[in-house]
Symmetry: C2
Subunit: 632 residues, 2 copies
């Protein structure tokens, strides 16, 4: 039995972090949108770490916010601890991180979706994708519902033919014992998609009442107000006493030998799991084996929410048998009597290898089909949400007959992520790291609004009102920088006393305020002691921009020059119908890779592994000579 269940512009499959963003974006862009998901209890559910942000990932959340996505607002409404990481280091690696109330996070996102006018949320398992003439036409669910649509976004996470492992125990399941999605994978394979097996894992949860906190180190939240969304007012910030602390402890040689002695019982190591695991979110088994000389690893104890005494044992992800997990926990200081409430587990699942997608996240094989999130081979809520947002935007733009939004590597971490995925693929669950970005000093966590709000506004996800607010901020930053670049500070006893107290030579002539601010021991507040204040007191976020822009002006300029150069290459488009076989001189491996990836620009082509510089040179000349006309 199947039945006709309605028509939509955009159908999103899976309401995880990717699917929630995709659906909200498409609906807010005016498209009639349907969001189907296996369990309504798991909308924007966090199967692993109850936290959002951290290096690179935190920047992604702000990028999502600047583009008009939801993750930043959602975590700002539901965090229980906020902390800026790496405050001692430069602005390129500073990273905001929030501890989430896991249930509240889910509930808030679900409720936002429920209230969105153009958006229907329904529980169902999608069993098949409807394709006609290589075009996506809708989906079919387990209840026989046939939904028709112009575009489809697949954001199905770790549910596809999911298998859970705990030591010798193994069973078919999605994350957190949810129903797995079985039929969709088979049907996608039948349609010619290439799937691979990946795996990931999660640590045990323990009862917070059984932790001996005295034996651990407290990690309280920050007093200084910071949020993920540029729209959240400072006044919403929780005082430190209203925040919840995390606690730090460590594994030790006893923990490690428990693991070594039982490696043959870990499905990650005894050959039972084929899937490839996340190198940058490794299991404790992984860490103990790979870093055999380290005799301890950090273990962060993190609350999963208010009114909930389950604690997440960050750093002890593993898939050992339950009894070994219990012993491992008890070997750790502060956890001697910890009561394990659920064991950790590994999960193996299908991904749709991302090289099959264009940088717009549209499938090369099936027009109008977009993929996003863990199903594309990534790992992490933020990576998923970033992809979801772009997939949702581009699905909506497809319906609107508009060109896709493609973020460049120099625009956003999201651009880096997508370019890496579609250009290089990934042979393990891909995680964003600051080291993956070439332009770290441009892709800062503080300036995501500067980089992306105009784009968000243009595509229709940032309201005119919010855009006007943003423009005010941008203008205030520019004005103040201009002022500092022209304002000259005259030498005086006061200033010279100050510079000398920092071991510097006294000023002889005047110095530009901006130049003075560049000195490591001068911050903006200090500077104000020597120059007139602005007419209106500047917002701390404006001051932050001014300070960073002035202090790092030299480095920023250099990176901008590199970007400009790259942009020329990015502007060299490769026609869609190019026939690589007709080009003499490109090496066989290069040709094969170019045909597989189908890069859209010379710049993208140059990043494909296996395509070497001479291939690129030949390709460039070929396109410039206009030989394309001759191709099929």
């Amino acid at each position: 039995h199947t039945y006709d269940a309605g028509e939509y512009d955009v159908i999103v499959v899976g309401a995880g972090h990717a699917g929630s963003e995709a659906a909200l974006a498409a609906a807010r862009m005016g498209q009639k949108t349907l969001l189907l998901t296996i369990s309504l209890e798991m909308v924007a559910f966090m199967p692993c770490n109850p936290s959002v942000g951290g290096p690179a990932k935190g920047t992604v959340v702000r990028e999502i916010d600047a583009l008009g996505g939801e993750m930043g607002k959602n975590i700002d409404k539901t965090y229980i601890q906020m902390r800026m990481l790496n405050t001692g280091k430069g602005p390129a690696v500073q990273a905001l991180r929030a501890q989430a109330d896991k249930h509240a996070y889910h509930q808030e996102m679900k409720n936002t979706i429920e209230k969105e006018p153009n958006l229907d949320l329904r529980q169902a398992i999608v069993d098949d994708l409807l394709v006609k003439d290589h075009k996506a036409e809708g989906v079919v669910t387990n209840t026989g519902a046939t939904y028709h649509s112009k575009t489809v976004v697949m954001a199905t996470g770790t549910s596809a033919r999911g298998q859970i492992y705990i030591g010798e125990l193994r069973y078919s399941s999605g994350p957190n014992n949810s129903l797995p999605s079985i039929k969709l994978s088979k049907n996608l394979e039948k349609k010619g998609f290439n799937l691979e097996r990946f795996k990931t894992g999660t640590p045990p949860r323990i009862n917070g009442n059984t932790i001996n906190y005295a034996e651990t180190e407290e990690q309280p939240g920050d007093a200084q107000p910071r949020h993920f969304s540029y729209t959240t007012p400072y006044s919403d910030y929780l005082s430190v006493s209203d925040q919840v602390s995390c606690w730090l402890t460590y594994t030790n040689p006893k923990t490690h030998s428990l693991i070594r002695d039982n490696l043959d019982r870990s499905p990650l190591f005894n050959g039972i799991i084929d899937g490839i695991g996340p190198r940058y979110c490794p299991s404790l088994e992984d860490k103990v084996v790979r870093f055999a000389d380290k005799d301890r690893h950090q273990v962060f104890l993190e609350p999963e929410g208010r009114g909930n005494d389950e604690w997440y044992v960050d750093g002890m992800s593993n898939s050992m048998p339950e009894e070994i997990q219990q012993e491992m926990l008890h070997s750790v200081k502060g956890l001697e009597n910890a009561q394990m409430m659920r064991p950790g587990y590994a999960i193996e699942y299908d991904i749709i290898t991302p090289q099959q997608m264009k940088p717009s996240m549209e499938s090369k094989l099936v027009e109008g089909l977009f993929t996003a999130g863990q199903t594309n081979g990534t790992s992490g809520y933020e990576e998923a949400a970033g992809q979801g947002l772009i997939a949702g935007i581009n699905a909506a733009r497809k319906v609107q007959n508009k060109d896709p939004l493609i973020l460049k590597r120099s625009d956003a971490y999201i651009g880096v992520l997508l370019d890496d995925l579609v250009t290089k693929g990934t042979n393990e669950p891909y995680r964003l790291l600051t080291s993956r970005a070439e332009y770290r000093l441009l892709l800062r966590n503080d300036n995501a609004d500067m980089r992306l709000t105009p784009i968000g506004h243009e595509i229709g996800l940032i309201s005119d009102e919010r855009y006007a607010e943003f423009e005010k901020k941008r203008q205030a930053v520019e004005d103040e920088i201009k002022r500092l670049e022209s304002l000259r500070i005259k030498p005086s006893d006061k200033i010279n006393q100050f510079v000398e107290s920092h071991g510097d030579k006294p000023l002889q002539d005047g110095i530009l305020a901006a130049q003075f601010l560049r000195r490591p021991y001068v911050d903006y507040d200090k500077l104000l002691e020597f120059i007139p204040a602005t007419e209106n007191k500047l917002d701390p976020r404006v001051i932050e921009q001014v300070s960073i822009r002035v202090k790092y002006a030299g480095y920023i300029k250099k990176e901008e020059a590199k970007v400009a150069k790259m942009k020329r290459m990015e502007s060299k488009k490769i026609p869609e119908n190019i026939d690589y076989d007709a080009i003499d001189g490109i090496a066989t491996e290069g040709k094969q890779k170019l045909k597989e990836i189908q890069p859209q620009t010379i710049a993208q082509a140059s990043r494909i592994s296996g395509v070497n510089p001479s291939d690129i040179a030949i390709l460039g000349v070929y396109i410039q000579q206009g030989k394309i006309a001759k191709t099929k």
Copy 2:
């Protein structure tokens, strides 16, 4: 692989409404207790109606509270609407009913369990029961954990070999798509337990933003403060504006013909489901078929919680194919555009037939094994919780070598429930109804504390402090009744004007205050206009008791006399080792039933269907003659 996972006094399997009470009771009675459950997300989860209470059920909640159980406190902390039903009727049928925030209810109960010192809560599927020499010795879980214990409480609900049905769709699942329990059923059967198949169902959920409330009737909460727990202060009561309304609408002939036209696609009607459904919680299919002449049925729209726009469509439980469910919804006034978020479904599951249990809830087959809740063939959260509490108490008392607590039919609705189950069994999901109780006027919702607090105190679940508070209340009630029974009101113009205004004859002589209060048009507040006030203002709950006890004194006395008579029969114990085959004169069917049920008293024997009065007479004589000594 199995491993030794520890020793407990009491192990409870399943943290539903029954298991939560059982585990808390056992732990609070000082026993080292383990609570194992398939999903920690589903502790005290409400798979169906997000509400607690109602006729008979509401009284059970107060009985649980008076005995020291948790349900009353838990709903008082998490309700979003409170309403006294049947306020126009007598005190025997008045019933408190609360709309719950479904997630908060779960979270609060889970957190209470997490904080309970003697209690470990762990996620696991129990696959087998350990039995040696007909004694329960522990359980084995899916991860190979072997837990040893002195007693085991099975409170496994609707998960046992669960099968979900939505039209033609059918799959193996516990409630709400949780993992089902498969192996335990088989293993119990192997040990000689008799299992049967029952079924139940739930309606679709809809998005509250798509209801046209203007077409429905509002059902707001009560302004007068009332709670379930005797310990919740009035000051905690939510104002009407802080409560959430429900809304009433109706099915109509169009809805009904949709059902009739598609009955062949309802697994409840086309023969696909064998299991027996709940007559008193019928599906809409059932109602339409059974009451063919009714052209409408009530449909209550009930919110599932705050910050959650899913609404429960009370009255439309069904297992029709999804598309028919959608059409059925749209046929109802106010739901023309309702967006269905999840379809309703039916679920079929195993029960352990309750005749296999003693009135203490202990198994006759396996000593130290107790069963409670839906697995005993009942339906409803309150019925489950009531059984769970008793099972937990008796498991703990078994460990303490104490006699089991057995509530009589005249003590509590819980007593009626247990006696019905073990004495009569049930051939459909058993629901408590006021009509099942012989002594309705004694088993009121207002006096559960009077009936049961002393018992709760004696078994150790009511603290001395609470007991002292209770004693104060009891004394205040007695004192005031005594006062009213002796205080004479003299005729006066004022009082005679009042009685005449109610069409009554003026007083000639004086009248006792109590007698005056018995008049239908007199309530306690009115009475106070004619007699001196008490020294201290009485608590409204004291006044309520005084009023009911005085007004209904005659009826209450009559029921108490019946109870006294029944108690004589209850006191006639039947020895455990009686050999019914050795008794001449008992009819064959009677003998067979007596052997199956093994009643513990002559009173219980008299309630077994198939055992007739002459059988009882013979049995009574046989026991009185002391012939028992001769039995095996």
